[in-house]
């Protein structure tokens, strides 16, 4: 059943994320004004924009932390307003706030969240994630002792622990020095891509870092994903309304994760983007296919809206 839906083209017609006339106001101040956006399954969308453009608000609404003032949000074909709990198990979020517990060790943090997300085979999964982010040696140390770079790495491990179909990133490289930011970026690229090595290769220089790590990461991740999804499928958990319905895109196995990234870094953003969007003044100012676009192409437009990019 799962293999069929995986290859059937019909599923891919449903956008993974769909925003219709999304508006968010704080009193009479509008953070988002009627945003329409669609992200297809497996697509990687990068959002640029000046400060105050509403990017963080957008991510907060997508991650179900914030309720829109008007408009609708559909993730995997399900309405976020009514199916929030069901959708949450398929969302992974990396934000500039760590969302982790200082007084617990890395392992305890991951174990806690593995419990909340009902991750099957938690212990091996936790060990594998720690390995992939390079924190195995520090796993018994309190998060309080971590450097900012390490905290963000653990945050990525946390976000990917339950193998989410949708990954949301809100300026994860904030507060990191350039070297740490590069490392983080490479890690994200390796862990976020799915499918085989050939898909990574087709992105050209974008797949960088070590493609072996990428292969290992994605191959293993995909294997785990199919096992995990099957187990979730068969575990009689009636509380997730959407999970049993094969028509909903979010619960079928996706060959690749759908990723939405907010970033200030033009180069890094373009390196991972299938599509780019510029958000300004609460509206989408520009939207385009990014495949094959270079930083040089894009810079004038970027500077015009965002100004003084890195």
């Amino acid at each position: 059943m799962n293999a069929e839906t995986q290859s059937s083209p019909g599923v891919n017609d449903t956008p993974m994320i769909e925003l219709r006339r999304l508006t968010k106001a704080f009193g009479s101040k509008y953070a988002l004004r009627g945003v329409d956006l669609r992200v297809m399954p497996g697509e990687s969308l990068v959002i640029f924009g000046p400060n105050g453009a509403g990017k963080t608000t957008l991510i907060r609404i997508l991650s179900s932390l914030s309720r829109p003032s008007s408009g609708t949000v559909h993730i995997g074909g399900l309405n976020l307003a009514t199916h929030a709990d069901g959708i949450r198990r398929y969302l992974g979020v990396v934000s500039h706030a760590p969302l982790l517990y200082d007084s617990l060790t890395a392992e305890e943090n991951l174990r806690f969240f593995a419990g909340l997300y009902s991750v099957p085979n938690a212990e091996p999964r936790i060990a594998a994630m720690l390995e992939q982010v390079g924190l195995t040696s520090r796993r018994h140390d309190l998060v309080r002792t971590y450097s900012r770079g390490m905290v963000q790495r653990l945050a990525i491990a946390r976000a990917l622990l339950h193998d989410p179909a949708v990954l949301l990133l809100d300026e994860p490289d904030t507060g990191l020095d350039p070297q740490a930011a590069e490392m983080l970026h490479g890690l994200l690229v390796a862990l976020s891509a799915g499918g085989g090595a050939e898909e990574q290769g087709s992105k050209g220089a974008k797949g960088q870092r070590s493609s072996e790590a990428g292969e290992q990461g994605s191959g293993g991740a995909e294997e785990r994903r199919s096992k995990g999804a099957e187990e979730q499928w068969s575990s009689g958990d009636g509380t997730q309304h959407g999970t049993r319905n094969t028509q909903h895109a979010i619960s079928t196995i996706q060959p690749r994760r759908t990723i939405v990234t907010v970033t200030h870094s033009l180069e890094r953003g373009l390196a991972i983007a299938d599509r780019v969007v510029i958000l300004a003044g609460g509206r989408i100012a520009y939207e385009a296919d990014a495949r094959g676009m270079t930083a040089a192409d894009f810079r004038p437009l970027y500077d015009q809206y965002v100004g003084g990019g890195r």
Partner: protein, 223 residues
């Protein structure tokens, strides 16, 4: 079942984190102890017997310490942004409520467990009886039930922690009145059976407000 497992996971997490830092517990305990001592000086020379004011002192000390604990619990989550981590997870908001509430309850009970013997020594009173422990438990439960949701509200206001006592004390009054009454009656040597009405009141309070908190906590958590 997942509901209670999630709540239990949250309780364990809070206890484990607290055991490491002992931040919340130590400040609660010290504050309670200081309150008792200050009240002792405040009343001693004007009151014929400390037994008369002991019930009030105990419950006020517990209330002040409790408020301190409630505040710290949510402020810490808020500042580090870790509450968002909880909210992102596919966990019923009400499970988060029970997890936090029972965790707070445990902290308060632990403080009471240590405070009580000290009060007994200071005032030469006998308070460690089963009836009295029941009274303390019921009172603390009500305190935690309402205090948890109110501290979640307070932490999100401009006045932050200062808002909690303003919101909490008027609503908490029945618990304080019943608590002081029952502690006093037990100290006076009244039989437990005479406390029937007050016990019912406390149980009613606990039940009603736990239900209301369960129903409304989700609204407090959303942005």
């Amino acid at each position: 079942m997942r509901f209670w497992r999630a709540a239990a996971a949250i309780i364990w997490k809070d206890i484990r984190a607290e055991l490491r830092t002992k931040d919340i517990f130590s400040s609660m305990f010290v504050f309670a102890l200081l309150s008792v001592i200050v009240f002792n000086f405040a009343f001693e020379l004007r009151v014929p017997s400390m037994t008369m004011v002991a019930p009030g002192i105990i419950w006020v000390a517990i209330s002040f310490a409790g408020i301190l604990g409630l505040n710290r619990a949510f402020v810490i989550e808020q500042d580090k942004g870790s509450l968002a981590g909880l909210l992102l997870a596919p966990v019923d908001r009400a499970a988060i409520y029970f997890g936090k509430m029972l965790g707070n309850l445990i902290f308060i009970l632990v403080v009471e467990a240590i405070l009580l013997p000290l009060v007994m020594i200071f005032f030469n009173l006998s308070l460690f009886t089963w009836p009295h422990l029941l009274v303390l438990f019921l009172g603390s439960f009500g305190f935690a039930a309402v205090g948890t949701i109110f501290s979640a509200i307070a932490v999100n206001t401009r006045a932050r922690e200062v808002m909690l006592p303003i919101l909490l004390f008027p609503v908490l009054l029945p618990v304080l009145i019943a608590g002081v009454k029952m502690t006093g009656a037990l100290l006076d040597g009244d039989a437990f059976s005479t406390l029937g009405n007050w016990l019912q009141l406390m149980v009613l309070y606990d039940a009603v407000f736990t239900v209301v908190a369960y129903l409304t906590f989700g609204f407090v958590m959303e942005e």
